[in-house]
């Protein structure tokens, strides 16, 4: 039987506010346990929450960026459940009236087609703390530093039809939240993670299959693998005469499998009700207009502009704009290079990207600045150095040896364009290699490469290749 896969994602993006969603504690990552947990975060008797305006603004910003309805009246609800790292015995979230409803985003499929993915809703909520199971001799430690960190939970429609689509969608949201500067997108620190709802149904069937929810996946690679495993598991199960049960599953990246956490029957009744300690969030048009007017250029628009303004290929523009930092790096490089956008794009996507990957660095950690790279490209375009020498200069810049001009100067890499000088070198080589000269003249033109190599070698690669070619041809003809 042919199966159709149906996937919906719930993405948790940690909002990049300085303080928590309901208290003044810092949200910085990595502090000693419980040093960033105040009375409110600890859920002490008598404490009350006060909503962080910045978190609300970020939620609204996201909604406006995905063409959604930003609710003028949204309400915080309490989701009641007991867990040691949930200090109040409930999580403050938004169930009935979320801040964002009915948005959408476009993804590009492998065949280049564009698909629109619906975003059902996005709501504000607080993160829980962490339970620490190591180093406590059978006991569990509780770290409440993360408790109360603001999250935006972004819930997609079940519009995704493969693990690849899910990844493309997740990357798109990942890119967007960073463009909007509402999330740092750091997946290792858990700032951006997702739950995947996966089901399968016979192709052509309208009714959805029973879904399983895979919890807390924190990398693009794992999303793809976890979903593919889950699809395989469900199809195998059904084909063997079994039945998928609605449950929560956990992806184990070490074993590369999903396993059951709890079934629907064991699931909590969360007893949601409006939080009586918080007033509804009321937003008006003036507020929303102000946010709308301050929205930055978003990835799609930037891509279109790059193609138009810099005459880039669609695929290059796509990669350059997927990450905000990368797009900024590219544009700055172009500016410092005084144009030459295509060469800049090639360098950013080629040498820079390769060096970053090799050293496991992100673009923001690049040891080469756009100013330096632009300076290098300037010297290529004004023919001070050849493309080949440029790679040597790049390496030296990467190692912190200064600007392109400094390196060219210090290492004497300046391209030789003096025809007299090049002619002199060629004459010497021809004198030393009379045999090859004869061969060439008798019609064996393959030896031409030999002369080019010798000339470049004699000039330590500095001779202008075009001039070398022209002069060689003239002289060899005799």
């Amino acid at each position: 039987m042919e199966w159709e896969v149906v996937i919906g994602l719930e993405i948790h993006a940690q909002l990049a506010t300085k303080s928590k969603i309901f208290s003044g504690s810092s949200t910085a990552y990595g502090a000693a346990p419980n040093t960033q947990a105040c009375a409110v975060d600890l859920g002490l008797p008598g404490v009350l929450p006060v909503v962080n305006k910045e978190a609300v603004a970020m939620g609204a910003k996201f909604g406006l960026a995905i063409g959604a309805n930003v609710s003028k009246h949204s309400v915080f609800d309490r989701k009641n459940y007991f867990y040691p790292d949930s200090p109040k015995g409930y999580q403050t979230s938004q169930l009935y009236f979320p801040i964002v409803e009915s948005g959408h985003i476009e993804i590009e499929l492998e065949d280049g087609k564009i698909k629109t993915i619906g975003i059902t809703r996005a709501h504000l909520e607080e993160d829980a703390g962490k339970s620490l199971h190591e180093n406590y001799n059978d006991l569990t430690g509780i770290d409440l530093n993360r408790a109360g960190t603001p999250l935006l939970e972004i819930v997609s429609e079940p519009d995704l039809r493969s693990a690849k689509e899910a990844v493309a969608y997740m990357k798109k949201i990942h890119s967007l939240v960073q463009y909007l500067e509402i999330c740092d997108g750091n997946m290792q620190e858990g700032s951006f993670r997702c739950d995947a709802n996966v089901s399968v149904r016979p192709k052509g069937q309208e009714e959805l299959g029973t879904r399983a929810e895979i919890k807390n996946i924190n990398s693009f690679r794992f999303v793809e693998r976890a979903i593919n495993h889950e699809i395989e598991r469900q199809i195998e199960l059904i084909e063997d005469g079994g039945r998928v049960i609605q449950e929560t599953r956990l992806y184990d990246s070490d074993k590369d499998e999903t396993r059951s956490m709890r079934s629907k029957e064991e699931a909590n009744d969360y007893r949601y009700f409006p939080c009586p300690d918080l007033l509804p969030i009321v937003l008006d048009d003036t507020y929303l207009d102000a946010i709308k007017n301050k929205l930055p250029e978003l990835p799609e628009a930037k891509k279109t502009r790059f193609i138009k303004e810099y005459d880039l290929k669609s695929i290059d523009a796509d990669i350059l704009t997927a990450q905000k930092d990368l797009s900024i790096f590219f544009e700055a490089t172009t500016k410092h290079a005084g144009g030459e956008a295509k060469i800049c794009a090639n360098w950013v996507l080629g040498e820079v990207n390769a060096a970053l990957n090799k050293n496991e660095l992100s673009i923001s950690e690049s040891p080469i600045t756009p100013e330096q790279l632009g300076g290098l490209i300037k010297r290529i375009s004004d023919k001070t150095i050849s493309g080949k020498i440029a790679k040597t200069v790049f390496e030296a810049m990467w190692n912190g040896e200064g600007s392109a001009d400094d390196i060219i100067e210090k290492k004497g890499l300046k391209q030789v364009t003096d025809s007299g000088l090049i002619e002199k070198v060629i004459d010497e080589i021809m004198t030393k290699n009379q045999g090859q000269v004869e061969q060439y003249r008798s019609g064996k033109e393959q030896v031409f490469g030999f002369f080019v190599g010798q000339t470049m070698k004699a000039t330590q690669g500095k001779a202008n290749p075009q001039q070398v070619n022209e002069l060689l041809k003239k002289k060899l003809k005799g």
């Binding site: 009375a39 600890l42 859920g43 002490l44 008797p45 008598g46 404490v47 009350l48 929450p49 006060v50 909503v51 309490r78 009641n80 007991f82 040691p84 200090p87 109040k88 015995g89 409930y90 569990t140 509780i142 009744d269 007893r271 949601y272 009700f273 009586p276 300690d277 918080l278 007033l279």
Partner: protein, 482 residues
């Protein structure tokens, strides 16, 4: 000296006929000597009190005192007090030393008031008799076989027995007004949002409100001046300006329109109580007020809707008491679930558990619409009733309670009968209005309270109406034989 009001003590402190240390020490001695009879305090804080009194005396000497500087007060044990045990009347918090001050406490500290100690109360403010306290029942100074009312029963008994000149209470369904009525005190529950709830251990967040319990309306005004005001730490706290609540006390009552809800007078009230209430209203009429019959058609629904909304919120508010971070934890838990179940099972008393169960049920899938949402709708209807009434009248009056103080143990096995003792006070909380109870006379030698209900943020008018009554009657001056 112990009969003196705050207003009188302010004068004595300021003209130096007594020092705060002397006054405080006298009250501490009196508490030590007499409170084993009433059990009105859970914690007495003599060292802290004397330290505060010394500081107050310095302020008084330096001439930068505020009205409450040097005045000893009793604080309900529901307010977190930095470094002092804050139990909320529960075994669950018997070991809890609060690491911060509630905003109300902070305001009293700023004003230079002295805290004598923390008063007994129904466990987590759930009760109308002070019998649900982990620390044992409080006795009514007017008759020690009877209850003082609840949940602010310790505060009421302490002021009635003259163990403190005044106290704080909190009122979720009548917990200031009902004990004030049963102990012959003036008690004021302000408009919801008038006083910060920060640091006040939550029972039902949308209903809880703190207020003063005093000997006179004038004292209540002085106390409210210190307590009221916007607090950035409480999102539900109003940023409306705080007037000087003593400013309007002396306005005369001519032309005051008093609404009498016919539903309050139809049935349920003890005859002897009804007589006292009628006399009190007659006194107002003689003072120039106009009586208007009004109707609050949905008031009969207030008790059932309250007993959905309040337990629902409580069931969630009390989830944080799980034995993990503070408070009671059972011995030798075998695993997490065992720790939760036994810590909560052993740490909470019967009435609290009953309300957690009611609230949990009301919020459950399949019942939420039928109970919680329905109750919220009723709540809006009740508010509408009041809104209409206040288009016609200035204040509403009626009884605070259907009976005088009942005997200890009399209703403790019959929760519904107990719940009905708040039948006249609950609607005020559901609507978020300010309400007062003032001494109106006696039935069978026990105090009867007259309830005054005002429009939103009209505490000044309530205090004026109460104060004027206290100028022409002396019920509030009666004290129990001790």
């Amino acid at each position: 000296m112990f009969q003196k009001t705050i207003a009188e003590l302010i004068i004595e402190l300021q003209n130096k006929s007594i020092s705060s240390v002397e006054l405080t020490q006298a009250y501490l001695n009196r508490i030590q000597k007499n409170d084993q009879i009433y059990n009105s305090f859970i914690t007495v804080t003599p060292d802290l009190a004397l330290e505060q009194a010394e500081r107050a005396d310095k302020r008084l000497a330096a001439g930068n005192a505020e009205p409450l500087t040097g005045i000893p007060l009793a604080q309900k044990d529901i307010f977190c007090t930095n470094g002092v045990k804050t139990s909320s009347g529960s075994k669950m918090l018997d070991n809890f030393i609060a690491p911060y001050d509630a905003t109300v406490i902070d305001k009293f500290n700023q004003a230079g008031a002295v805290m004598l100690g923390k008063t007994n109360m129904d466990e987590f403010a759930m009760g109308s008799s002070n019998e649900t306290s982990f620390y044992g029942p409080v006795k009514n100074p007017w008759n020690t076989n009877t209850v003082p009312g609840g949940s602010s029963g310790g505060s009421a008994a302490a002021v009635a027995a003259q163990l403190a000149p005044a106290a704080t209470g909190t009122d979720t369904g009548g917990s200031i007004r009902q004990p004030a009525a049963l102990c012959n005190l003036t008690g004021l529950k302000p408009t919801y949002g008038r006083v910060s709830r920060y640091g006040m251990i939550a029972f039902a967040s949308s209903l809880d409100q703190a207020g003063p319990m005093t000997k006179t309306a004038e004292d209540a005004a002085i106390m409210l001046n210190a307590m009221a005001g916007f607090d950035p730490k409480d999102s539900t706290c109003s940023n409306k300006n705080v007037p000087d609540y003593t400013a309007d006390l002396n306005k005369n009552l001519k032309g005051l329109k008093i609404g009498l809800p016919k539903e309050f007078f139809e049935k349920g009230m003890d005859e002897s109580v009804a007589k006292v209430i009628e006399d009190a209203i007659d006194t107002y009429k003689k003072a120039g007020a106009e009586l208007v019959e009004i109707s609050l058609p949905n008031s009969g629904l207030s008790v059932p809707s309250y007993y959905v909304v309040a337990p629902a919120e409580a069931s969630s508010n009390l989830s944080r008491f799980d034995g993990v971070r503070y408070g009671y934890r059972c011995e030798n838990p075998v695993d997490l679930e065992d720790m939760y179940k036994r810590s909560r099972g052993e740490g909470f008393g019967e009435e609290v558990k009953r309300r957690i169960m009611i609230g949990t049920y009301a919020l459950s899938v399949g019942f939420y619409d039928a109970y919680y949402l329905k109750a919220q709708k009723v709540r809006r209807l009740i508010s509408e009733d009041f809104k209409k009434a206040f288009e016609k009248v200035d204040v509403i009056m009626g009884p605070t309670t259907p009976t005088t103080a009942f005997n200890i143990g009399e209703k403790s096995n019959d929760p519904v009968t107990m719940y009905l003792s708040d039948i006249y006070t609950i609607a005020v909380n559901l609507a978020g209005l300010p309400g007062m109870s003032i001494p109106a006379g006696f039935a069978n030698n026990m105090p009867v309270g007259l309830q005054l209900i005002g429009n939103y943020f009209e505490e000044s008018r309530l205090l004026n109406v109460a104060h004027q009554y206290q100028q022409i009657t002396d019920w509030h001056k009666q004290t129990p034989a001790m």
